[in-house]
Symmetry: C2
Subunit: 208 residues, 2 copies
């Protein structure tokens, strides 16, 4: 016997298990202090290996990543962070500068072989190019933050930095533009603030 309720049951598809939900979403926390425990270049490469498969508009993947993990690199970065972000950034074994490539469309013939003309169309249309980078850079940053957590690492994303100064120091040719800076590592002492509230779903979701 099939009831109306059963008839709208979803088919039996694999879903993310509780451990995965906790690791990526429900129990994960933003880190504000990091342990000395190192993070290997292989772990960092593995973060990108997940991130890169998630979708972007026209497959054009504008996000770029600079992993700062040497003492010299940290010395260049720290004074360009907002004062309140310096101590935690100094404590993280790695800090990723996420940027968008303002000339991401040059890769169109490789990335979208069915429409190689996208390269020239976007070369001629700075407004569309800029709008695409503005949406897809942060979209990929969202994937990247969850991919850090997927490695069992703690992410500490920060918007407080001198973007013009970071661009001048790390991207002097002017092609990459910094977007977010993210500490990566293992939790140190008192790594979390109290968890802040989330909006009531009734303030977020409408039905049509």
């Amino acid at each position: 016997m099939t009831s109306a309720v059963e008839s709208i049951e979803a088919p039996d598809v694999p879903v993310l298990d509780e451990a995965g939900r906790a690791l990526l979403f429900t129990e994960a926390r933003t880190g504000n202090a990091f342990a000395d425990t190192p993070v290997s270049d292989e772990q960092l490469a593995a973060i990108w290996e997940l991130t890169r498969w998630a979708p972007t508009s026209a497959n054009l993947q504008p996000l770029r990543v600079t992993f700062v993990r040497t003492p010299e690199g940290k010395e260049r970065l720290l004074p360009l962070m907002s004062e309140g972000n310096r101590v935690k950034t100094a404590s993280a074994p790695v800090t990723a500068i996420l940027a968008v490539d303002s000339r991401f469309h040059e890769h169109a013939p490789t990335l979208l072989p069915i429409r190689p003309q996208m390269r020239d169309a976007l070369e001629a249309d700075e407004a569309t190019r800029s709008a695409m980078a503005q949406v897809n850079g942060p979209l990929q940053a969202g994937y990247f933050i969850l991919a850090i957590r997927a490695q069992g690492l703690v992410a500490g994303p920060m918007a407080g930095f001198d973007a013009a100064a970071i661009d001048a120091e790390f991207f002097p040719d002017g092609r990459w533009k910094s977007l977010l800076v993210i500490n990566i590592g293992h939790p140190g002492e008192n790594p979390w603030f109290d968890r802040l509230p989330r909006l009531d779903p009734a303030d977020v979701i409408r039905w049509a």
Copy 2:
């Protein structure tokens, strides 16, 4: 005996398992045709229940979601999609219009109780407000796409639509601004295109 290599080994922390990586990142595909199989309001609410815990700047969570899943709602939406997106959008049991709330800062006293003055500061500073929405809206959209996949559902994100017309039709008070439109459902016939290439990590990643 401890070798130099062992000394940089990461501690034994839980990581996302292979099934979770496949479901969210490495094997998931963008859907271009959807089955009749319905998606319940509970499944849609569960997508938001994951999305909302991932981090945003100053915890201000600007993303808003309209789940279009009635025939009337679909009739309002379809003519506002680009022609090439109409057939697939008609086939999806649910289509989510993701938008940013241009007045997201009104929630600051609730969301960031340690700095309730953020509301008035952002009210007076349209440029910072707009920059925050521009980064954090798509950032949350990235979380949202992976949260759809976490429910075992297929996401079909689209940037091709008449944003001004969608805003006029669905958000006539002018407060929410559409960002991306995402089909949600189960795969239909020939649901995937051939997988497109990803950038070589050497074109994306730098080390400092």
